[in-house]
Every structure is written in C-alpha cells, then in structure tokens.
C-alpha cells in the first residue's frame, strides 16, 4: 500500500506552522538577518507553539508527536526562512535528541522539559577546527579526575552554542584508548557557563545569518562524572545514529527552501513586466519554474520515504543519505534559478530569494557533505 497523504493532524500542524511563518517570521526575519542577530523572541514564540517538543513524549514535556512531525514543521519554516529552521533542527535533533536517546533518567528529567518548551536550547559539538567529515579524528580530550571529567580542546561551527537561551552543549571527546588501540570517544554534557568553557564570537557567515554558530574552547572544563551521555566509548556510534536522523531533518529543511523558491518565483513572474508583458509569459521563465517545482516535489518524496522507514524502525541510512544529498542539491539549484527569475532584485538582500541563495549552499556541507553522503550510499551498496 502506498499513501503519502498527510493525516489530519499533520496537515493541521503544517497549516499552523505555515501561518506562523507568514505572520510572525516573514515580516521580521530580514532585519535580524541584516543585523546578523539571533531572533530570540521569534524562537521563544516557536517554543510556545510547541515546536521544540514535537518528537518527544509528553512525560518529558514534549508534544507527543514523532520525527516526521518535526520534519513537516521544518519544511514549512524553511519555506520562509532557513535560519529559524536550522535553529529548531539543531535544537531538537542535535541538542535534545542525544539526551532523550542516550541520557539517564535524571538527565532527561533535568533537561528535556525546558528544551521541549523552547525555553532552553541545546547544542552538539562534534566538528573541530581540524576536521568535520572525519569525525573520528576528534582531538578534544576528557579525563576522569576525582569524579569529574576534565575537558580540553576546541570545537568549530557549533550551532546554537552562544544564544541567550543556550543551556548546554554535548561534546564528543577522547576518553581513552580502545582495546584495539583506536580512540575511545564519548559524549559529555557541558552546561552553559561552566568555568573554562569559552564561547567565541559569532562567525561572520555567508548565509544562515540569523542563526547562531560559534567556536568553543575548553580549558580544564570540569563537569561531574554523571554528565556522560550514554555509554563510555559509545560516543562515536551514538552520534552517527543521531546524524542519520538529522539528515532526514536537513532534507526537509532543504525541501522547504526549494519550495520557497517556487513560491517566490511564481509570484514574481506574474507581476514583473518586461517587453510589455509579465516575464512569466516567456517559456524560458516558465520552464525554469516548472523544473524548480519538479525538484522540490521529488525531493519531498525522498525525505518522506526516509522518514517512513525510520518511523517503521527499519534501517534507513541509505534513504537518509539519498534524501539529504538530493534535496540539498535541489535547494541549491532552485535558489540559483529563483535568483535568475528575479533578475537584479534577486541579488538584493531585501528579497527572500536573495536570502535563499545565500542559505542554500550550507545544506550541501552541514551534517555530512555531499561527498560524505555519496560515500555512505556507495558503501551501503557494497561498492569499494
């Protein structure tokens, strides 16, 4: 049986997030973006809407939905703006999810209710200045010293790590040597404001300018031994499984951006005139927009498929990689085409497509580059 219609509740959620995006985000996000500022009050409102708790059970303050609900919300947010969408994506799938999946009961009770309410934001620190794709090359270390982890090292490009709402960052660190001689990597929860944790300035970024990305450095940062998230030495395997889910979420976000490009181009093609007629009368423009719609809708099917397998508890690594790879490339293609349809205005920051153009590229890089996705797909096919 094949049925990719949204059920009533998911459709109602989609409509609500759509309305919220148009009413609350669209009129104001441009200013934040220009000022390179994190939109704390918009993020709080997203929290009140329950978006940060979507895939978590009610007993931890969640909304009792599932990961697909999160994806649908991300798609609708990104259709209007990617900075707030990535804030939600990172807050949920990188910030809260490791605690929910691998944390102890105490950790869940302590952190999840505030994270689910959007009153607090979590970050996940995996990438280091020396490398992201090769995540096993972690250099940050944590050693046990009288009941405390003492952490030293640095992390690069960490989303949500320095906002007013940031409450914690979970970091991967080398905690020893495995019996086979390899690095033992574990995940450790570091509350914001812990002495020795230095939060750097916001990076000056090409896109996602209203989202918060910073470098973190750790100098003899001490946290209690209980702050270990999940099993010691399982840090690497844990985050790999988190990243598989995250890729489906990033794919939904990319589809939103690709669809936003269609929305804006359809509008603009009807209203902009050249040579005495709307530019949309030209077949060349029509075809650009038709191709954009083809990419957005096929990419959507790719993430629906990955989400469906994930929710059914089947292996979905390949589908997640396919969805992430394909939809991020579609987003970049659509942003380029939408900017073309807008002509010179497409190059202006005040037009949403100008923002889309700048926001699209990172989708081919973050949470696994396109090359990494191709490696995963080939490996899963048994090639190489």
């Amino acid at each position: 049986m094949l049925d990719y219609r949204l059920d009533e509740e998911t459709e109602a959620l989609r409509k609500t997030v759509r309305e919220f995006s148009l009413d609350v985000i669209a009129p104001r996000i441009g200013e934040y973006y220009e000022r390179d500022e994190f939109p704390t009050d918009i993020v709080r409102q997203m929290g009140e809407l329950g978006l940060f708790g979507l895939p978590f059970p009610e007993e931890y303050g969640g909304a009792g939905g599932d990961y697909f609900h999160l994806c649908v919300a991300l798609e609708e947010l990104a259709r209007v703006d990617s900075s707030v969408a990535i804030t939600l994506e990172a807050g949920v799938s990188l910030g809260a999810m490791p605690i929910f999946r691998f944390g102890t009961e105490e950790q869940k009770r302590e952190w999840l209710p505030r994270l689910c309410a959007g009153e607090a934001l979590g970050a996940f620190g995996l990438t280091e200045p020396g490398g992201g794709s090769d995540a096993g090359a972690t250099r940050t270390t944590a050693r046990l010293e009288d009941g405390h982890w003492v952490i030293n090292g640095s992390k690069a490009f960490i989303t949500n790590s320095g906002t007013e709402l940031t409450a914690l960052v979970t970091v991967t660190a080398v905690t020893g040597t495995r019996p086979d001689g390899g690095k033992e990597i574990s995940a450790i929860l570091v509350p914001a404001g812990t002495p020795g944790l230095t939060v750097g300035q916001r990076y000056s970024k090409v896109g996602w300018n209203a989202s918060d990305t910073r470098e973190l450095s750790f100098s003899d940062v001490r946290v209690p031994e209980e702050n270990l998230v999940g099993e010691r030495g399982r840090g690497y395997a844990q985050f790999l499984s988190i990243l598989d889910e995250g890729r489906v979420a990033i794919s939904a976000l990319a589809v939103g951006l690709a669809q936003g490009c269609v929305d804006e181009s359809v509008k603009y093609a009807a209203q902009r005139e050249a040579f005495g007629q709307p530019i949309g009368r030209n077949q060349a423009v029509q075809f650009m927009i038709a191709d954009m719609e083809v990419r957005a809708s096929t990419a959507r099917l790719a993430y629906y498929r990955a989400a469906e397998k994930m929710l059914r508890g089947e292996p979905f690594k390949r589908e997640a990689a396919i969805a992430k790879l394909y939809s991020s490339e579609c987003a970049v293609d659509n942003a380029r085409a939408a900017t073309q349809v807008h002509g010179g205005y497409g190059f202006m920051n005040e037009f949403p497509v100008g923002r889309f153009y700048r926001d699209a590229k990172i989708l081919e890089i973050g949470e696994g580059t396109s090359e990494v996705q191709r490696m995963l797909i080939a490996r899963d096919l048994g090639v190489g």
């Binding site: 919220f20 809407l49 979507l54 909304a63 009792g64």
Partner: protein, 259 residues
C-alpha cells in the same frame, strides 16, 4: 461560566473570492475556506475568560459539512466542545434566517456569555449580535476592544472612530469583538492532537424544530440580484511639478477628502 463562541467558516479573504453565478451566493466549494478572521479573536477572548473564571467553551457553527475544519481548528486552539448545525436546506440563507437557526440552537444550550466576531469577511452585514440579542432577549455589547467579566457583569470598551464607549450589561449577554481585543493563539500540536477527542455534536434543522421552508435562498429576506467584478485599478493622477507641485498635491488630496 459557560461560554459559547459563534464561529463561521468563510472563504479566505487573503485569496481570490468569487460568487457563484448560478445563484449569486458565496462560492464556497473550491475556495480556500478558513475561520472568519474576526471569530478567531472571539475564540481567543473566550479562552482568556475561561482561564480567568473557569468554565467551558463551546463552539457553535452553522454551515456545510466542510465547516468541520473550522470547528477542528477552534477546538485545537483550546475550546472544549462544539455544536455544528448543518442542513442542505440552509443553503443561501440570509442573516435573519441564520439568526433564527443560531437562536434555536442556543436555546438548547446553557450559556452565560456568547462571543462572536464583529463582522464576517464574506457577508459583512454585522447584524448577527443584534439579531440574536433580540431573539434571545439578552443585552448585546457590540464592537468590543476590551472585555472584563466581574461579578456577573460584562464590561466592554466599544471601539469607535474617535475613541471608545464604556458599556456594561448583566450576564447572560452577547459580546462581539474587534481584532484590537487580543492576539489569537496558534494551535499547538498538543492542542491539535487533543482536538480529535473533543465532542462535536451535529444537529439538523429538525433537531432544532425549524421548518426547512423558512430558511434557504427561496425564502431569504434579502437577495443578491446582480454582481460584477472589481473594476481594474485606474491610471492614477500624475502631477507635473512646475513650481506649484506641492499645492497641486494638497489640492488633489483635499478633493479626495483624504486631508
């Protein structure tokens, strides 16, 4: 406190709206149907009153089966239950007929406070609160920008062009609201899930004891005879500045009664 909110489903005023040329009624099929915008403020106000005073919020809707979507949204915002009056014979009913149906439904319900939007974006006749007040024999406080309930008395600020009137009336009363009264909440996902389990009672004209021949297009008290599309935008006026541009602008604005 039992609060009833009158909710109407209308074609979205933000997208293109049409009349059905077959019988000159609002074309609802194929339109993007939503809760009448002003009614969302009435729902929000009902929820605020309930949060302060306790009680139950019931949504009352007269409309076709598709109006169930509007009801579900109201329930997902936080209303407790709904009554949906739906009957084929209602098609094309005028405000007077609809008020008879609403009044009959209200007479079968317990209410201390009835809330509704000050106007609907499709018909825009804005007479429903007055018609219902008359039929039910209760006071109406229309056009509220502020509402407080105090010891069995409803106090409102009625918005006017120049300011406001302070009015009060004993409950039960009917209060209509403007969009200045509050900021309606968005339904949360929890609310959306909870709405599924809330009771919606469907009633026909027979359930209300209303003779179907007294409602509907054929016996409506008003009729739309003809309609035409909005005229295209005019050319506008160009003022060439020959040293007296400012004077001409002021003259023009004054002639249009803008200043």
């Amino acid at each position: 406190m039992n609060i009833v909110v009158l909710v109407k489903q209308v074609p979205d005023s933000g997208s293109e709206r049409k009349l059905d040329p077959a019988d000159n009624t609002v074309a609802r099929a194929g339109a993007d149907n939503v809760i009448n915008e002003m009614d969302e403020y009435a729902i929000e106000e009902a929820l605020v009153v309930k949060e302060a005073h306790g009680g139950e919020v019931t949504i009352l809707t007269v409309g076709p089966d598709s109006a169930a979507d509007a009801i579900r949204k109201a329930l997902s915002m936080g209303a407790d239950r709904a009554v949906h009056v739906t009957d084929e014979a209602m098609h094309g009913s005028c405000a007077v007929q609809t008020s008879a149906v609403l009044a009959a439904a209200l007479q079968q319900m317990d209410y201390d406070l009835i809330l509704c939007g000050a106007e609907s974006t499709d018909g825009q006749v804005s007479v429903m609160p007055a018609l219902l007040a008359e039929r039910l024999g209760i006071p109406q406080l229309s056009g509220a920008r502020k509402l407080t309930i105090d010891d069995g008395v409803a106090k409102v600020e009625r918005q006017t062009d120049g300011g406001f009137w302070a009015l009060e009336a004993p409950l039960p009363a009917i209060v209509s609201t403007w969009d200045t009264i509050n900021e309606p909440r968005y339904p949360s996902f929890k609310g959306i899930m909870a709405a599924k389990k809330k009771p919606v009672e469907t009633k026909t004209l027979a359930d209300l004891g209303i003779d179907p021949s007294t409602v509907g297009l054929a016996s409506a008290t008003s009729q739309v005879l003809d309609f035409s599309g909005r005229p295209p935008k005019g050319e506008g006026v160009k003022v060439a500045d020959e040293g007296d541009g400012a004077d001409k602008l002021v003259e023009y604005l004054a002639s249009q009664k803008i200043v």
